[in-house]
């Protein structure tokens, strides 16, 4: 008797975890794909946390004003492009360090978002729709676990597209060359600085879209505690995924599952240690970084111009 209920409880916990992973992973996916593009060009943007929050605010505001969540997603992306251009432009000045600029933009972006987002805390904006992948099941838990947001398939398709583009397309090869050896790229006549600024802007666009997911789908509102380091964890995730878009997608799902642990346990009535379970993604990030990073060696697959992976 008790074995059956235990089995049931475990089954529904697993379902809640799966549903949570599918839900929570989307911002990780978009931010990490964006950071992947930026890092492939040889620069790191630690400011994507600020971009994510600014995108969440901008997307929510525009969705509220226009009534269209899709315009909101676009606006969030454009906020990200502006932040990316700022980062890319500043880092192109001589003697300006990309890590320091990232930290500054993390603080600047969140400050800007909190300021401009003050009037957005109360009203309810139109949300992004979801896709019912679980319509075949008559079990409500299965249906709710497989009720995924529209941005998730878009992000997964984008991961496949980037995987192809980095390997086979003209601009993907140019991007990688710029990131691996700027001198060689310059000798071949590629404009190194514009390509890097473009890659940072493109990365910002995707991070902004990731932010729109936070405010327009899950949790689905604008408030100042919306993001708690997802943007930064996504940067670490790219390193763990060794700069491969497909591995980024897998890692994002894993991070999503870790992020869903707290809420999933809570839905099962386990509320003790809520804060600790919510810290699971941070612990996971640290553990994965410890496991994947070897001291004294440059990481396999790391773009050669990326300063911070070199020891």
């Amino acid at each position: 008797m008790s074995e059956t209920t235990d089995g049931l409880a475990f089954g529904s916990l697993a379902l809640a975890l799966l549903g949570g992973a599918l839900r929570v992973s989307t911002p990780f996916l978009f931010v990490s794909l964006g950071e992947c593009i930026t890092e492939k060009s040889g620069r790191i943007n630690l400011g994507l946390e600020g971009t994510l929050v600014l995108g969440a605010m901008g997307g929510y505001g525009v969705s509220l004003l226009t009534g269209s969540p899709w315009l909101g997603v676009l606006a969030a992306g454009l906020c990200g492009v502006l932040m990316g251009l700022l980062h890319g432009g500043l880092c192109s000045l001589p003697k300006v360090n990309d890590i320091a600029v990232g930290i500054a933009l993390m603080l600047f972006g969140t400050g800007l978002a909190f300021f401009l987002g003050k009037p957005l805390i109360q009203p309810q904006a139109p949300m992004l729709p979801s896709v019912e992948l679980g319509a075949w099941s008559d079990n409500e838990q299965v249906r709710s676990a497989l009720r995924i947001n529209v941005l998730l398939p878009v992000g997964l398709a984008l991961a496949g597209l980037l995987h192809w583009a980095f390997r086979a397309s003209r601009w993907g090869l140019a991007l990688r060359l710029v990131g691996d050896n700027a001198a060689a790229a310059r000798a071949l006549g590629y404009p190194v600085v514009p390509i890097r600024i473009g890659a940072t802007a493109a990365g910002g666009f995707l991070a902004g879209v990731g932010g729109a997911f936070l405010s327009l789908y899950y949790p689905g509102s604008w408030n100042e505690g919306l993001s708690s380091g997802q943007g930064l964890m996504a940067v670490a995730l790219v390193i763990f995924a060794r700069w491969s878009p497909l591995r980024c997608a897998l890692a994002a799902l894993l991070f999503g599952a870790a992020g869903a642990l707290g809420p999933a346990l809570q839905s099962q009535g386990i509320t003790a240690g809520y804060y600790l379970f919510n810290a699971a993604p941070y612990v996971l990030t640290l553990a994965l970084m410890a496991a994947s990073w070897t001291p004294g060696q440059t990481l396999a697959g790391a773009p050669g111009e990326l300063s911070f992976t070199q020891r």
Binding site: L46, L86, L90, L93, P94, K95, V96, N97, I99, A100, V101, I103, A104, L105, L107, F108, G109, T110, G111, L112, F114, F115, K118, S228, G229, L232, M233, V235, A236, I239, A272, G273, Y274, Y275, L276, N278, A279, Y282, V283, T285, L286, M289, A290, W293, T294, P295, G296, Q297, F308, T309, R311
Partner: protein, 348 residues
């Protein structure tokens, strides 16, 4: 005569990019406000008035500068060793929590030993947390910037878990807190002022850090590690121990900031402690180019911006995040003007 002029020029020269950056940030902020229909010139005037315009403003500014000096040291000391640490907020939280635990364990003791023990507890808790980043960097090669912020989030989660759990005072209903400190243990204001003694602690800590970095063998060794880790290894310096020590001292300073917030401001450990001093300290340290003496001035400036927030809110109905925008603009402008500096590129 010429030599004296040269020396004076060299002393003032580093201030030129800073002044330019501060002006650029003020212009940016004004343009941002004007674009939204706020009275930009009045706002800038209010920032100055709210920060330095009266005795009351000065006291508010200095009370905020005290923890900023200590959290800025959490960036500056590791920076000397070549590490970019941004996890001061977590060190402050855990330092506050450790310090808040001390009085219940030392009931009946006289005040001074309890206060010193609280400072020590805060120092060790904050120091251990930041030292962990240095350790991870040294043994596993993990990027310390990312790990310190992740550890900071974990520290804050731990803080919330304990304050709302086993360490919670059952009498704190709406706002979970640890039990209030006994009155005797509270740290009071400086004579004749409303600013608490923490300001003196902060200035002394900055002076001590300057002495340690610029006048001791330890500080010199840390500087060598920060300048060229390989050369430091070749010279036989204990690189790992120096990295960990620099981070421990820096994190310890942030932990003491948390202790001061408990003992001089809030009277117990609760979520209001986490007011962003750890993050603003990053700006302070970068503005001072990680020079401990410059941090005293930088903390007063950034503390002043923070102090002007309530005046901006009252007079112009600006959101409280206005000060965050101004601080962010200042940070961005400072880094942009770094390009004008005549010295070579800095890694940190």
């Amino acid at each position: 005569m010429d030599a004296a002029m040269n020396r004076a020029m060299r002393a003032v020269a580093p201030l030129a990019p800073f002044t330019a950056a501060a002006l650029a940030a003020a212009l940016l902020f004004a343009a941002f406000l004007a674009a939204q229909g706020f009275e930009a010139p009045e706002a800038l005037g209010l920032v100055v008035e709210g920060a330095f315009g009266s005795a009351f403003a000065w006291q508010n500014t200095l009370a905020r500068a005290a923890p900023l000096m200590l959290t800025a040291l959490c960036v500056a000391l590791p920076a000397r060793a070549g590490l970019v640490i941004i996890g001061g907020e977590g060190a402050l939280a855990l330092g506050a929590l450790a310090a808040a635990m001390v009085p219940s364990l030392t009931a009946g003791w006289p005040a001074l030993p309890v206060q010193l023990l609280m400072a020590l507890a805060g120092f060790v808790a904050g120091g251990a947390w930041i030292a962990a980043s240095a350790w991870l960097r040294h043994v596993r090669g993990i990027n310390e910037t990312i790990s310190s912020l992740l550890l900071s989030y974990i520290g804050i989660a731990l803080f919330n878990f304990l304050v709302e759990g086993v360490l919670r005072d059952p009498a704190s209903l709406n706002k979970p807190s640890t039990p209030p400190l006994p009155d005797a243990v509270l740290i009071g204001p400086l004579p004749g002022l409303e600013v608490h003694w923490g300001l003196v602690w902060g200035v002394l800590a900055c002076a001590a850090a300057w002495f340690l970095l610029r006048r001791t063998v330890f500080g010199f060794s840390v500087g060598v590690v920060g300048g060229n880790p390989r050369a430091a290894l070749m010279a036989g310096l204990p690189v790992g121990a120096l990295l960990i020590a620099a981070c421990f001292l820096g994190g310890g300073a942030a932990g003491v900031a948390g202790m001061l917030e408990v003992a001089a401001v809030h009277g117990s450990a609760n979520a209001s402690l986490l007011a962003g001093y750890g993050y603003a300290g990053i700006l302070v340290s970068f503005a001072a180019r990680h020079n401990p003496l410059g941090i005293v001035a930088g903390a007063i400036l950034v503390g002043g911006i923070g102090a002007s927030g309530s005046l901006l809110q009252r007079r112009l109905d600006l959101p409280d995040a206005a000060v965050l925008v101004l601080q962010g603009a200042l940070f961005v402008a400072l880094l942009a003007f770094e390009t004008l500096n005549r010295k070579g590129a800095r890694r940190v």
